[in-house]
Amino acid sequence: MAEDVREALEIFRVRETKKDSFMARALASLYYQLKIIATYKMFLAIEFIDIILSVLIYYFVGFLVSPQALSSLGYSPDYLAFAVLGIGMSRYLWTSISRLAHKLSHEISEGTFESLVAIDVDNFRSWLIGQVIYGFTWSSMWFVGTILVGMALGAKISGDPILWFQAIFILLLTIAVHVGIGIIAAGMYIKHKQLETMLVFLSLVMEFFGGVLYPLSLLYNYRPLYYIAMLLPFTHGLEMFRRTLMNEWTILHPQMLLHLGFLLVFLPLIYLGFKIFERYLNLARKEGVLGTY
């Protein structure tokens, strides 16, 4: 035993030089989260089936929607393409918002959250960014799957690589804005622990006002609702995304520039999100609610 102890002590005699690396911590948070999710094999299988079924629903709903009605609202007359892009993007953003709060609820109930707080050196920012990248990676797979299934069923989506490049830029910008909302939601969860109520509300707001399944211009006849919709960043992101891949509008189109302007106004939400998260974390440290036993 003496030899064992001596060997174990020996490794602590030399002091290593630690390089503070924000990105290394964020990537560690991403990498090990991917490893964790890979152990949930049933979950992965259900997610795959989920992609196919959610597209199939709108494939059949598409038979009820007249192409002329969609055309008269300024879109190409393909409802399946309209719905596929809507649900693909809403899923993306939904992940940005709900992912962190769900992950935190899991960490708190499992007891690992306290361990993370005890070694946190950057007010959780690297961990949050790692989890955001994880959410992005995960929903990218979902998104690509949705588009591919939609195209296999006949959805007419632009194949122009430049427009796809523009669509990805719009997607990233919209996600960046919604990450801020997600971080605020996660912070609120630490303190209030009302995860499902909060997320169901946010999801309804997004689906109703964002125009996931119907064109936003339909709301124009109901002015107060239309104005509320215009105040939400999601509405602008989705509208730009669809116009790019369905109408082949470039970013320089006047309406696109207007939407872009709205989105950029919301960008500081990320910084605000970090600050609010920090505040909720400190409140939880004050009240002793970092763990639930």
């Binding site: 102890v5 503070d20 964790i36 499992e110 361990s115």
Partner: protein, 343 residues
């Protein structure tokens, strides 16, 4: 002033509120722990040990008071404090690991969060896993680990970034006898050979007596005593204890106790143990000089090995100081027979 101390707390207070109810978990605790000291925090369940340590590792913000760890304020410089402390969570510790990651991945993940270079982390993990005999289970998911294996993993995790200060909440709870012994030896050597400071909470009196340079006894959130294990016993030397050792089977115990407790010089029976063909009984008495011959006389006919004056154990000292029993479980890695017999 702070330089010579690894941990200093001044009037540290934590109050939990639930509606109108107020629970003072830690009540104006002031402590100074020197660098290179093995310090034990001892107290019954709910005494405030864990709350106190959670404030030191910045998981809880105190309602009053302040503390400094390695010279850094837990209120103003929590990030600096976290970099310098290795913390091992007690009781619910197994939950503080990712059950769907392997033991190795858990350690690697936390090493990266601590900014430990990959090669250094790999070397430490390899050696420490071998030390705690987990090298063959390193790549199994933690969900398949036993309680003892998880405790070992938690201990390694606290050490990975080579901190100068370790705050360990019941680090041997759940370990088998041999592993607990090995871990104790290692912890003591971390202090003696490498100059680390360890703040250690435990219910285990044997462990605390054996390991700690100084002990604080905490009860209902207040420190009721600070000193060496020996000083605690001396403080309560007015407890007059007689230890009786008989070379008899356990089946005579009831009669032996009946005879002893009938004597007016005996206040109460403090402990009774049966070890194969031996019985050891400790009683508190009014006066040693009269009690010892009277007890020997009352037990005539039995095979008496000795009836002698004894120093109080820490457990008995705690009982005297706090008025409550300190431990609620059998200590891990300690034979029943060794309990309360150390001098």
């Amino acid at each position: 002033m702070l330089g010579e101390y690894a941990i200093v707390s001044e009037n540290l207070t934590k109050i939990f509120r639930s509606g109108k109810r107020k629970i003072v978990a830690v009540d104006h605790v002031s402590l100074k722990i020197k660098r290179g000291e093995f310090f034990g925090l001892l107290g019954p369940n709910g005494a405030g040990k864990t709350t106190f340590t959670k404030m030191l590792v910045t998981l809880l913000i105190p309602d009053e008071g302040e503390a400094w760890v390695d010279g850094f304020s837990i209120l103003k410089e929590p990030i600096e404090v976290r970099k310098r402390v290795g913390w091992m969570m007690g009781e619910t510790g197994g939950r503080a690991l990712y059950w769907r990651l392997s033991g190795y991945d858990n350690l690697m993940f936390f090493a990266k969060l601590h900014n430990v270079p990959r090669d250094v982390a790999e070397q430490r993990i390899k050696v420490l896993l071998r030390f705690v005999e987990l090298e063959n289970d390193a790549h199994k998911l933690v969900m398949n680990y036993s309680t003892g294996m998880r405790v070992k993993l938690m201990l390694i995790r606290a050490l990975l970034h080579n901190p100068d200060i370790l705050i360990l909440d019941e680090p041997t709870l759940g370990l088998d006898v041999e592993s607990a012994r090995k871990v104790r030896t290692f912890l003591r050597r971390l202090v003696d050979d490498l100059g680390k400071t360890i703040l250690f909470t435990s219910h285990n009196m044997y462990e605390v007596e054996m390991l700690c340079d100084r002990i604080a006894i905490i009860n209902r959130g207040r420190i009721i005593f600070i000193g060496t294990p020996r000083e605690i016993r001396e403080k309560v030397e007015e407890i007059k204890i007689v230890e009786i050792q008989l070379a008899e089977n356990g089946n005579v115990l009831d009669d032996v106790l009946r005879r002893i407790t009938s004597l007016s010089v005996v206040n109460e029976v403090l402990s009774k143990e049966i070890l194969e063909r031996n019985i050891i009984i400790r009683v508190s008495v009014t006066d040693h000089a009269t009690a010892i011959p009277e007890i020997a006389n009352a037990l005539r006919g039995y095979n008496i090995e000795s009836v002698h004056r004894a120093l109080p154990t820490l457990e008995e000292a705690f009982l005297k100081l706090a008025g409550v029993k300190i431990f609620s479980m059998k200590p891990s890695g300690v034979g029943v027979g060794r309990y309360g017999r150390r001098r």
